[in-house]
């Protein structure tokens, strides 16, 4: 899926406000890209790993998420989850003029990508 993911993301990213993305494939390989100095690739990947674990732990509370948005003072981190275990995090500036629609559309399409 690695090639098709990069092709998919290249066609849709970046959108306004996107600072970085990081993806973990079903084989647990991780890839990422930063559009500014705000995030380092390692930070994005570590954060993705932490958020993926957090998403898994929601199952203990009988919550099965398909998409999450962690809202912080300066950033929104959108996390999309696929049934095959792959996940994609989008690190977006938290600005009132930015709509979540672009990030959500990317995550919805990511969920539908062929394995």
């Amino acid at each position: 899926m690695n090639g098709s993911l990069e092709e998919f993301l290249a066609g849709r990213l970046p959108f306004p406000g996107l600072a970085a993305w990081s993806a973990r494939l079903s084989d647990h390989t991780t890839t990422s890209h930063c559009y500014s100095d705000w995030f380092a690739a390692q930070q994005a990947e570590q954060t993705l790993g932490r958020l993926a674990l957090a998403a898994d732990s929601l199952g203990n509370h009988r919550i099965q998420p398909v998409r999450l948005s962690w809202v912080f003072e300066h950033a929104r981190i959108y996390l999309g989850l696929r049934r095959d275990g792959a996940c994609l995090a989008l690190f977006v500036e938290n600005r009132p003029d930015l709509s979540p629609t672009a990030a959500e559309n990317v995550l919805d399409e990511f969920a539908q990508l062929p394995a």
């Binding site: 995030f39 570590q46 732990s57 009988r62 998420p65 300066h74 950033a75």
Partner: protein, 363 residues
């Protein structure tokens, strides 16, 4: 001890059968060797009038009365004369009747005696029950009293009692032993969470019952600290409501979907997303920063929700340490058939679950 110095036990028998009342009075006065004073009333109105004039140790009430049956009168007495020992007499003490009476505050449910042995048994039970009443001190009713004040009185007096609290939706008990609050329970809650939840109630009824050991002691610490913490949590909730309005907690529209029968809360198809495109609040939990439940609506597992909010706060703190994202505000979760928002503030945590949002609403 001379008979003049012994206070006679006061009994009031309420029955619409005058012959039965006369018989009971004569028989029980004789059996008690004048240690009982037996009053009778043929109607509820007479009984209420007598209760206004005379303190009764035990009131014996016939269930099958005209106009207002014994169950209704029992409930009425629970409000007008809380703490009054009441025994229900019935010709048919089946399990349902017995349970209904005991649930509504009756101390005993006895079958109407038909034999001398039966009368002897009833006499013995009533006599023993009257002995459980304290013969000194005041008994009365206070109106518009806060639960904190009642607890304060019990604790200051180093009393042992059970404060039973009930509202239309909630029933709970606070156990006080030698002036210390040792246990509280409210629905599925126990311990301090139950105590704070009960002390946060705005109105309802309370009753002080004779102390008995709780199933386990779940609360330690000074009662003063516990009441101060309860007051702080109540204030926090009031502040939250002042800031956000009642709509922040109370669902604007009660879901009409059939009840979710799943054993624990989940975002599932059973929640039945509305067909008209509107979003409905399905569940709300508000906790203090230290995890005490301040408010809940339609939550089937408070402990699970409390743990979830704690977990999210911890996970967000870890992310804040990993990346320059700043202070955490909230987590929005989109699931197949619903949406969850978890707000985490230093002093408040809020969980709201709603039905499926329209596309693009997660914002």
């Amino acid at each position: 001890m001379s008979g003049e110095n012994v206070r006679r036990k006061q009994f009031l028998f309420v029955d619409d059968d005058a012959g039965f009342l006369d018989g009971m009075r004569e028989l029980f006065t004789a059996m008690s060797q004048e240690t009982w004073e037996v009053f009778t009333a043929e109607s509820h109105a007479q009984a209420l009038a007598l209760l206004q004039q005379q303190r009764m140790d035990v009131l014996v009430l016939d269930i099958g009365m005209p106009i207002m049956d014994g169950f209704q009168f029992l409930r009425l007495l629970g409000r007008t004369h809380p703490g009054q020992q009441i025994v229900m007499l019935t010709g048919h003490a089946d399990d349902d009747r017995r349970k209904s009476c005991l649930d509504n505050g009756a101390a005993l449910v006895l079958e109407k005696p038909v034999s001398s042995a039966g009368f002897g048994a009833v006499f013995a039970a009533l006599d023993a029950l009257a002995d459980t009443q304290p013969h000194t001190g005041f008994r009365g009713m206070m109106r518009r009293v806060g639960l904190q004040e009642v607890l304060q009185m019990e604790c200051l007096g180093r009393k042992s009692s059970i404060l039973e609290i009930s509202t239309a939706k909630t029933r709970g008990r606070i156990f006080i032993c030698d002036g210390s609050i040792v246990h509280a329970e409210s629905g599925t809650l126990q311990g301090e969470v139950a105590l704070y939840s009960l002390l946060g109630l705005q109105d309802g009824d309370f009753n002080l019952l004779t102390f008995r050991e709780p199933p386990r002691r779940t609360i330690q610490g000074q009662w003063e600290s516990l009441l101060m913490e309860a007051a702080r949590l109540t204030d926090e909730r009031a502040d939250f409501l002042n800031t956000h309005g009642m709509n922040a907690l109370v669902p604007p529209e009660i879901p009409s979907a059939s009840p979710d029968t799943s054993p624990s809360p989940s975002v599932s198809a059973a929640d039945s997303a509305p067909r008209d495109g509107t979003v409905r609040i399905l569940e709300t939990v508000l906790c203090s920063g230290s995890g005490e439940i301040l408010y809940e609506w339609e939550c089937k597992s408070l402990e699970s929700r409390r743990r979830l909010l704690e977990q999210i706060e911890q996970q967000a703190a870890e992310v804040s340490a990993l990346a320059p994202v700043g202070r955490f505000d909230r987590l929005e979760i989109a699931a197949q058939d619903g949406r969850i928002v978890c707000h985490v503030r230093p002093n408040l945590r809020l969980f709201v679950r709603s039905s499926a949002a329209a596309e693009g609403v997660i914002a």
